[in-house]
């Protein structure tokens, strides 16, 4: 379980969430309803581009209704329709109409397809325009592009490499796994021993009660840390994630993450009677944290009120700090606010939790 959980987590998240480059062999139906020749040319071009990228798995369809049925049947993920008057419009100097049909039941894929297809077709349009301009107005081909597309946009990140979903998600998952192993592991360990009766054996011995919880914390911390590091190793080895920051700082942040959640874990252990209740409380707390703290989705995409909630969750700061260090190569000074907040949260929680725990143990 120690190794399996993070492995499973990372693989699952890694493969389920689509990244820009991961679309390949998406089944797309093409309905060429054009009566003229331009439609065929477009299809040939599309096939030529596709044979290079391997992005789509093209099939043919007759019309919109045919595509609709096929999408409903789950046979294809989208469709392209070349309108009947495509050639005639182009001939008469109007724009040729192309319709993209998307599968609304799968917004993520359909958004991606829409983007990719739009881009492909736009590019084909540009090529066509370049060709037309140079033949009609005798402008040399290498100048025509500047006429049609005067701006050339280039993207450059502050660290080398393209933005990658794994790069984005790995720090968050590390923080999350550490949080989960503490928040589930701690109450589990204590209530299990309570149920077994072995906890009484420790409580009846002349040892400090604090040392019992400390022992549990150390065990769970080790577990959480090992899991976090397994994720890190997987991210680097399998998913090609590159750490730009200091690896020691990453480990320090994971430990800090542990510190900030220990109190919460002890607190829940103290006021829940049995394992079942503890697990339930844990789930209730963990789910919002998982989804709101920007582990899987960037926080900026959320509505403002959700962002406000996210700002109250310690996991948000752990994730942000880890991401800044791992992806952007930030140093201690850049993440000092996050560090302060995590230390603060952990301290307050511990101050509440330890007296509660001592009290709960002598109920």
């Amino acid at each position: 379980m120690l190794v399996l959980m993070p492995l499973f987590m990372m693989l699952m998240v890694g493969f389920i969430f689509p990244s820009g480059s991961s679309i390949s062999n998406t089944p797309i139906a093409l309905a060429n309803m054009d009566e003229g020749t331009f439609g065929d040319i477009l299809v040939t071009q599309l096939e030529a581009i596709n044979s290079k990228t391997g992005m789509m798995d093209l099939s043919t369809a007759t019309d919109f209704d045919d595509i609709k049925t096929k999408i409903q049947d789950g046979k294809i993920s989208g469709g392209i329709i070349i309108s009947p008057d495509f050639s005639s419009s182009l001939m008469s100097g109007k724009q040729g109409a192309i319709m993209l049909v998307t599968d609304q039941s799968n917004p993520q894929i359909s958004m991606m397809i829409e983007g990719v297809l739009t881009k492909t077709i736009e590019e084909m349009g540009t090529q066509m325009a370049v060709h037309k301009l140079s033949t009609t107005y005798n402008i040399p081909p290498d100048h025509t592009l500047a006429v049609i597309k005067p701006y050339n946009v280039q993207v450059k990140g502050i660290v080398p490499g393209k933005p990658n979903y794994f790069q984005f998600v790995a720090p968050g998952i590390m923080a999350m796994v550490v949080m989960m192993s503490l928040m589930t592991g701690l109450p589990h360990a204590i209530s299990y021993e309570k149920d077994m009766g072995t906890l009484d054996g420790m409580l009846v011995a002349p040892i400090n009660r604090f040392s019992i919880i400390l022992g549990k914390v150390i065990a769970q911390t080790t577990r959480g840390l090992v899991q976090g590091l397994i994720i890190l190793a997987l991210a680097i080895l399998i998913f090609g994630v590159v750490i730009y920051g200091n690896i020691l700082l990453v480990i320090f942040l994971l430990l800090l993450c542990v510190f900030s959640f220990v109190g919460l874990g002890i607190l829940i252990t103290s006021f829940t009677e049995n394992e079942e209740t503890a697990t339930m409380v844990m789930m209730t707390l963990m789910f919002p944290m998982m989804f709101l703290s920007g582990v899987f989705f960037p926080m900026q995409e959320m509505p403002w009120y959700m962002q406000d909630i996210a700002h109250c969750l310690p996991l948000t700061y752990a994730t942000t700090a880890l991401r800044d260090v791992m992806v952007l190569g930030a140093g201690v000074s850049a993440i000092s606010t996050e560090i302060m907040i995590l230390i603060g949260f952990g301290t307050v929680m511990l101050l509440i939790a330890i007296p509660m725990f001592k009290k709960a143990m002598s109920k």
């Binding site: 077994m196 009766g197 072995t198 009484d200 054996g201 420790m202 409580l203 009846v204 011995a205 002349p206 040892i207 002598s362 109920k363």
Partner: protein, 341 residues
């Protein structure tokens, strides 16, 4: 002051409330050094809660107690140094071997390694489990586990050993073995022993003194002999009748007799009757005969602790449990004096 030195446990108005329910209700008692004191009562009477308070595992809501001379609330860590606990749930890890378990819990008492090894050897030989020392606890039978569990409480050489239902769920042979071990611990180590049980026979056999506890209160506390004498003193007789054609009507009629204190159905033909007065026997037999009852045997029983409990509380300890265990237990031969009339 001399008397104080002789006292192992002194409880005064010890009370534990869970919400409105008083699990232990203002109990006061003393336990002398070196004796085996038994809390006898049905499940839920408050025995375990009392033990847990004395072991500092649970804080009393009211009242106070000293264990080995230390206050259970103010000097709880001092108390812990002087006690051992064998609770109802076994305090052992199944994955560890017997020796590892003993070592782990011995370490909690800060016993130096060489001394601890010596003690582990001692306690293992006490229960004749040396050859199983390096086997996982999980592979043991319940009886073997309990032997280790009991001696685990002895590692720190406690002055006072608490045993919560030490023979619960054990087969007859293990039960008598555990009882023998308890007796030896008491005699050889001079350890004061507090045990809880719902088995009358066990309390009778083992304990120097018994506190009968019911609904959180100690309703009687004395030596088993005195408790039993208490019944005979007030002229109570206990008879067991075997009536072949026993009917509910007959039982009700017997119950309604003036001299009869209680009637308990043993099975479909046997009843146990507690009655008072010289004419008790005649009255009961007359009633049965008048209803054409066919008496196949009458046994005059000597009072047992069970009868004491019944007499004091007015209800059975818990019929089915006490019966089965009495039958199965390796206790002393049933004190039955057969006197067929």
């Amino acid at each position: 002051m001399i008397e104080m030195n002789n006292i192992a446990i002194k409880a005064a108005n010890l009370t534990k409330k869970f919400g409105d329910l008083a699990a232990v209700d203002h109990i006061s008692f003393d336990v002398k050094k070196g004796e085996i004191f038994g809390f006898l009562g049905p499940n839920g009477a408050g025995k375990t809660t009392t033990i847990r308070m004395l072991c500092t595992l649970s804080r009393p809501t009211e009242g106070s107690a000293t264990v080995a001379g230390y206050d259970i609330v103010k000097e709880d860590s001092k108390v812990r140094e002087h006690i051992g606990l064998v609770s109802e749930k076994m305090i052992m890890y199944d994955l560890l071997t017997a020796k590892e378990n003993l070592k782990l819990f011995g370490k909690l008492y800060n016993i130096p390694n060489d001394l601890l090894d010596k003690r582990i050897h001692e306690v293992l030989s006490l229960v004749e489990m040396e050859k199983w020392a390096n086997h996982q606890i999980g592979t043991f039978s319940t009886g073997m586990k309990q032997r280790i569990n009991v001696v685990r409480g002895l590692l720190n050489r406690p002055e006072i050993l608490f045993l919560d239902e030490p023979t619960l769920g054990l087969d007859p042979q293990s039960t008598s073995e555990i009882r023998e071990i308890i007796r030896r611990i008491n005699i050889e180590n001079k350890t004061t022993i507090i045990l809880t049980t719902h088995m009358m026979v066990e309390a009778d056999m083992l304990c120097n003194r018994v506190g009968i506890i019911d609904h959180g209160k100690i309703v009687a506390s004395d030596t088993p002999m005195n408790l039993k004498r208490m019944i005979s003193k007030i002229g109570t007789t206990v008879v067991e009748l075997d009536i072949l054609n026993l009917t509910n009507n007959m039982v009700a009629l017997i119950q309604s007799l003036k001299c009869v204190k209680s009637v308990v159905m043993k099975d479909s033909t046997r009843i146990k009757v507690q009655a008072k007065g010289d004419d008790a026997f005649n009255d009961i037999i007359d009633t049965v005969r008048q209803n054409n009852g066919k008496i196949s045997s009458i046994i005059n029983l000597e009072p047992t602790l069970e009868d004491v409990f019944l007499h004091i509380t007015g209800h059975e300890v818990r019929e089915q449990i006490s019966n089965n265990v009495t039958m199965a237990g390796h206790g002393p031969q049933p004190r039955v004096k057969t006197r067929i009339r």
